[in-house]
Amino acid sequence: MLRKGIALAALGLAFLGSPALAAHPTPVLKTVAWSFDGPFGKFDTAQLQRGYKVYREVCAACHAMSMLSFRNLGEPGGPFYDPKYKNPNDNPYVKSLAKDIQVNDIDSDTGDAIQRPATPADRFPSPFPNEAAAKASNGGAMPPDLSVIAKGRTGGPDYLYSLLTGYRATPAGLTVSAGQYYNVSMSGDLTSAWTGDHHKVPPGGVIAMPPPLEDGKVTFDDGKPSTVDQQARDVAAFLYWAAEPKMMQRKQFGLGAMVYLLIFTVLLYFSYRRIWRNVAH
């Protein structure tokens, strides 16, 4: 009976895990072997550093990341963590990165709005003062905040990588309005914009963001070839770190917790067997 119950439970979980059947083709999702996959996965510091550079030099022009502070870059697991500086606010590299960026402030003497170099305690400044300005500068589409984007999209970093490398020439027969770009990994249903064979609707959707990356657009300090694929990979990894900065602590803590619980459970099992050994039941 117990076995039957487990089988049924497994069946239920299999149901829950299966993707929804869609009438139109599903967007392309490429899976990447990330360094942070699996229970022992760790962030690749060099990759996060490259990813930060891509974000700073490309994405930050339009996308805010309002939940991150410069100090986060120097925290354990972060791209510029240095074990010498337990307090990330003292990390000189993080300080210099922050100093390069101007943030808004109020002059405490005059009350005037001013700009000053950022400190590690400052949040990443947003490129637009408010949502309306962001929309007005981007053809009516609000560039989403990237702080937790890697958790806010199904597929996470795989999706971000797929989207950034998913731009293709518009297929003949697909109507794409001005200011929109065809992307095989964007979610959507192109059936209504498709004039070709009804059974061959192209996968993907349209997106208002023009292809942001191009070969050589960012120069990597570690000499990695700066291809679109590499940039997309690195920035997706960086965004995953940004969304889940405590991942390494979590998995480390988890290992200890699992081992402890396993020992605890085994001990209890033997204790249980011993106590019950003489009871007919």
Binding site: R71, D109, A121, Y260, L261, F264, R274
Partner: protein, 184 residues
């Protein structure tokens, strides 16, 4: 612990196994449960300590030209008042004169300001008794007077009379230029 209760049950086949080994399993299981409970308690306690953003509270810079001689300006720093006082020569002299008086928390005036900047006194503005904010210029010594429980501080911020145990705290600060300090 198991023995007593097992004994109270219909248990015709009393275990013949080595009792010390049997107890070991139960004690180990109980200890593991207690250990797990303790391990869970620490995160629950630690979460009430200052969070990352609180610890990262920025240091502040302050322009001294705003403070007239004999005046004090109060600014907020890390949620607490910070006294920046521009002392007159008479006030400095009064403080230095008492360096060898019977002090509860002995410190010379020289130790309480930056070298060569005797006119500038920077203090955390909370009474060392129970945290009230002392008023400037009051009390028997012309420094500060705490209205809550009557602590008197002199013009160097040293405790002279009343219940407070310590001098007003001097925070970590540095002169960036002759007219600008950075606190924290």
């Amino acid at each position: 612990m198991a023995d007593t209760v097992v004994g109270a049950t219909p248990d015709p086949h009393a275990p013949g196994a080595d009792p010390s080994r049997r107890d070991f399993i139960h004690i180990a299981a109980g200890a593991a449960a207690a250990g797990a409970a303790l391990a869970v308690v620490w995160p629950l306690v630690d979460q009430m300590n200052p969070a990352g953003d609180t610890l990262a509270l920025a240091s502040i810079e302050f322009d001294l030209t705003k403070v007239e001689p004999g005046q004090q300006v109060v600014v907020k720093w890390r949620g607490k008042p910070l006294f920046v006082r521009n002392r007159t020569p008479e006030q400095i002299a009064a403080a230095v004169k008492d360096d060898n008086a019977a002090l509860r928390d002995p410190q010379t005036d020289e130790e309480r300001h930056k070298p060569g900047k005797a006119e500038w006194l920077v203090l955390v503005g909370t009474c060392t008794h129970l945290g009230c904010v002392p008023t400037v210029g009051g009390g028997d010594y012309g420094g500060w007077f705490c209205p809550c429980h009557g602590s008197h501080y002199d013009t160097s911020g040293r405790i002279r009379k009343g219940p407070a145990p310590k001098n007003l705290e001097v925070p970590t600060y540095a002169f960036l230029s002759d007219t600008k300090i950075k606190v924290g």
